[in-house]
C-alpha cells in the first residue's frame, strides 16, 4: 500500500524573483512554515503544500513579490466526484477522523439576498438625502406591549404601561457570539470596544467574560450555553442582556469543543474550568428537553437579573423554525436570535456545516410572518445571523422583518480574517482565531477596534442612503416593509415563502 500522503496541496506559492528582495518578512509571518530562508543559497524558498491561502505573507510582502494561486493540478472532470470530495475522502482514509472546518458553509447554495432587490422613490414621493435630513437607525430590542395606555387629557400616554427592558442600538447591527477561546483576547477586546464606540452590542459566546472585557459589559450580551462555561450571577448581571444559546447555524444539533491545549490560565479562569481540560459543550442543554424547560430557564435568568435585562434565545435556522420561534416567544423570550446555515464557527464537522439547516432568508420570512399571524410580533424582537456580508444584506433583512442582524464573519474580516477556514488549527496567521502568544500579538486591539468601527460606520451610511432612497427616514418604517423588496430569479414558491412580489409586480 502506498505510504505517501495522497492529498495534493490546495495552493501554489509564486514568488517573483524580479521583486523578491530576500527580506524574509514572509518567512517570519507564516505560522505554517511555507516560506524558508536558505542561508547557503541566501534565498527564500516556498513550499505550497502547507499553505492555507491566508494571504498573510502576500499582504505584508513589501514588494508584492508573492502570489498565492489555486493549485492547477486538476482531476479528471467529474460532476459527482468533485476535487473537494476526493480530497476529503483521501484525508479521511488517512486519519479515520471526522472532517473539520472553520467559518461558514462555503457550498454553492443560492444566496437569496442576491435575489432580492430594493425599491427607491420616484416622483410620487421624494427620496430623502441623509446628509441633509435626519435619518434614524435607532432600534430598541426587547418585548413591547401591544398598546400604551393613554390618559387622554394631556394627549400624552401615561406610563401606566411599563415598557420592559430594551437594548438600545444606534445601528441595527451587532457582533454575534464569538467566545474568548475560539478567538484571541485581543480580538474579543476589539469587538467589545467597537460595540461601545458605535453604540451596539458584542456577545461573549460561551467564553465567559474576561476581566479586561468586563468594563464593556454595558455593551455585551452574555451567553448561557449548554456548557454553562463562565456562568455565575455576577456574569449574568455584568451584561446588558442574556442570551440562551440553543443552537448555532454552522452546526445545528452539535455541541462545541475547545481543545484542552487552548485552555490556558486566562481561559480557564474566564470559563471557570480547570486549565488544560477540553471545554466540551453538550449538544443539548441537559436541563432543556422541551419548551417548558426553556421557559423555566428564561425565567430563572430573569429572576437572577431582577427582570432588568432582556433575555434572548438563539437557535439555528432549521426546518420548523417558525413554529419553534413562536414557542420561544410564548416561553417568555424578549429576543429571538436565528442563525442561518451560512453562519460561521471556529470549528464544525464539515458534513454538518455543509448540509444542515436552512437559509436565514427563508427562516426570517417564515418567523416574522408567523409571529404576525399569531399577533405576537410585538412581544419579541427578531435578530438574524448567518452570512451577512454587506449593508445591503442588512437592509434587505430588516425589510424582510428583522429588528437587527448579527455579524460574525464580516467583523472578523474587518479585523483581517481572510476566511481561510483554518480557525480550528489554532494557527491563525492574523492573530484572531488563536491563543498562541506569538500569533495573538499580531492583532493590535487599537487597530482592530478602529477597523471594526469604520466598517459599522460605513454600513450605517449606506443603510441610511438606501433608506433615504426609499423615502424612509426611520428604520421602523423599513422593518418588515416587504413592499420595498422585489424578487428576481425566484420561483413562485420561493416568492410566497418570502412573501415578496416579483420584480415588475
Amino acid at each position: 500500500m502506498l505510504k505517501k500522503w495522497l492529498v495534493q496541496p490546495d495552493f501554489i506559492v509564486e514568488r517573483d524573483p524580479e521583486k523578491c528582495i530576500q527580506c524574509q518578512v514572509c518567512v517570519r509571518q507564516c505560522a505554517n512554515d511555507v516560506h524558508e530562508y536558505d542561508e547557503d543559497e541566501e534565498c527564500v524558498f516556498s513550499d505550497g503544500s502547507n499553505c492555507v491561502g491566508c494571504h498573510r505573507c502576500a499582504t505584508l510582502c513589501p514588494t508584492g513579490a508573492i502570489q498565492i494561486k489555486n493549485a492547477p493540478l486538476e482531476f479528471r472532470a467529474n460532476s459527482s466526484w468533485t476535487p473537494g470530495l476526493l480530497r476529503d475522502a483521501y484525508k479521511q482514509a488517512e486519519s479515520s477522523g471526522v472532517l473539520l472546518s472553520g467559518m461558514g458553509n462555503p457550498q454553492p447554495y443560492p444566496i437569496y439576498w442576491d435575489h432580492m432587490l430594493l425599491n427607491a422613490s420616484q416622483v410620487t414621493n421624494p427620496s430623502i438625502d441623509p446628509l441633509r435630513e435626519p435619518m434614524e437607525l435607532l432600534t430598541y430590542l426587547g418585548r413591547k406591549p401591544d398598546s400604551v395606555a393613554s390618559d387622554g387629557a394631556s394627549g400624552s400616554a401615561s406610563l401606566a404601561t411599563k415598557i420592559e427592558p430594551q437594548l438600545e442600538l444606534q445601528i441595527p447591527v451587532m457582533f454575534s457570539a464569538m467566545s474568548y477561546g475560539s478567538i484571541s483576547l485581543h480580538a474579543s477586546i476589539a469587538l467589545a470596544r467597537a460595540a461601545k464606540e458605535t453604540g451596539t452590542f458584542g456577545n461573549t459566546g460561551e467564553g465567559g467574560l474576561h476581566k479586561d472585557i468586563a468594563p464593556y459589559g454595558g455593551n455585551m450580551i452574555v451567553q448561557v450555553a449548554s456548557g454553562r462555561f463562565g456562568v455565575d450571577v455576577d456574569y449574568l448581571n455584568a451584561g446588558a442582556a442574556v442570551e440562551i444559546k440553543i443552537g448555532q447555524g454552522a452546526k445545528p444539533g452539535i455541541g462545541g469543543h475547545l481543545p484542552g491545549e487552548k485552555v490556558d490560565a486566562a481561559i480557564s479562569a474566564t470559563r471557570m474550568i480547570p486549565a488544560g481540560t477540553d471545554a466540551l459543550s453538550p449538544a443539548p442543554h441537559h436541563d432543556i428537553y422541551s419548551i417548558e424547560d426553556l421557559r423555566q430557564l428564561i425565567y430563572a435568568l430573569k429572576e437572577a437579573t431582577r427582570y432588568a435585562k432582556p433575555i434572548s434565545v438563539k437557535i439555528a435556522a432549521v426546518h420548523n423554525v417558525a413554529a419553534i420561534a413562536s414557542g420561544i416567544v410564548r416561553a417568555g423570550a424578549d429576543i429571538v436570535a436565528i442563525d442561518g446555515y451560512r453562519g460561521g464557527t471556529g470549528a464544525a464537522p464539515t458534513m454538518i456545516r455543509n448540509n444542515v439547516g436552512i437559509p436565514i432568508e427563508f427562516a426570517l420570512a417564515a418567523v416574522d410572518s408567523r409571529l404576525r399571524e399569531e399577533g405576537i410580533r410585538n412581544q419579541a424582537s427578531i435578530v438574524v445571523a448567518g452570512g451577512f456580508r454587506c449593508s445591503a444584506d442588512v437592509v434587505k433583512a430588516i425589510a424582510l422583518g428583522a429588528d437587527a442582524v448579527y455579524i460574525g464573519t464580516a467583523a472578523l474580516v474587518a479585523m483581517g480574517c481572510h476566511v481561510c477556514q483554518k480557525c480550528y488549527t489554532g494557527k491563525c496567521n492574523w492573530g484572531i482565531a488563536t491563543q498562541d502568544p506569538y500569533l495573538t500579538k499580531r492583532l493590535n486591539p487599537d487597530v482592530a477596534t478602529r477597523r471594526l468601527v469604520n466598517l459599522l460606520k460605513g454600513w450605517a451610511h449606506e443603510v441610511k442612503e438606501m433608506m433615504g432612497g426609499m423615502g424612509i427616514n426611520a428604520v421602523e418604517s423599513l422593518r418588515g416593509n416587504r413592499e420595498h423588496l422585489r424578487g428576481v430569479g425566484l420561483t413562485d414558491r420561493e416568492l410566497s415563502v418570502l412573501d415578496i412580489k416579483a420584480a415588475g409586480e
Binding site: 518578512v25 517570519r28 509571518q29 505584508l60 513589501p62 514588494t63 500579538k441 499580531r442 493590535n444
Partner: protein, 148 residues
C-alpha cells in the same frame, strides 16, 4: 519633540521597519532598486528589531533629553537639532571614533562597515511621521509628539 515608542506586545518581528528605514535613507528611495544595488550595504538602518523567542520589538535612538552621545562626541558631529530637538549625527563631521557607541545605553548607534561613520535614527526629518512608524503594519511603533 517627536518620540518613537515601541510596543513590544504588538511587535510582529516582521522587520518591515528596518527595510523601510533603509530605503528612506537611500539615494533613490526605491525599495527594490536599493536592495538590488550595492548601496544597500552602505546604509545602516536607524531602527533595529530585537527578537528572542516570541518577544520582539523595534528599537531606535531615544533622542534622550540628556544625550550621553552628544557629551561624548569629540567632533561635535553628534548634536541636537535646534528646531526639532532630535539628536542628529552629522556624518560629514563624524570621524568614526565610536565614543557615541560606547556610551549609548540603548545601543541605538551603529558603526557602518562601508562608511566609517556612526549611523543612527534621524526621525526621518522632513517626513510627516518616521517611515518605521508609517510602515509598521500593527502600530507596534508609534510616534508621539510630546511638546505640550
Amino acid at each position: 519633540m517627536k518620540r518613537i515608542i515601541a510596543r513590544e506586545e504588538y511587535c510582529l518581528g516582521c522587520r518591515l521597519c528596518e527595510i523601510h528605514c533603509l530605503v528612506q535613507h537611500s539615494k533613490s528611495k526605491k525599495l527594490i532598486k536599493v536592495f538590488r544595488s550595492e548601496e544597500r550595504r552602505a546604509i545602516v538602518p536607524g531602527v533595529q528589531v530585537e527578537q528572542s523567542g516570541q518577544v520582539s520589538f523595534a528599537i531606535q535612538c531615544r533622542h534622550c533629553d540628556e544625550a550621553p552621545c552628544i557629551e561624548a562626541c569629540m567632533t561635535g558631529a553628534m548634536h541636537r537639532d535646534p528646531d526639532t530637538g532630535a539628536v542628529i549625527c552629522n556624518q560629514d563631521k563624524c570621524v568614526g571614533c565610536w565614543m557615541c557607541i560606547m556610551v549609548c545605553p540603548v545601543g541605538a548607534i551603529r558603526s557602518g562597515d562601508e562608511r566609517h561613520v556612526a549611523s543612527k535614527c534621524d526621525l526621518c526629518m522632513g517626513e510627516e511621521v518616521p517611515v518605521c512608524v508609517a510602515n509598521c503594519p500593527n502600530e507596534a511603533i508609534i510616534c508621539e509628539d510630546d511638546d505640550e
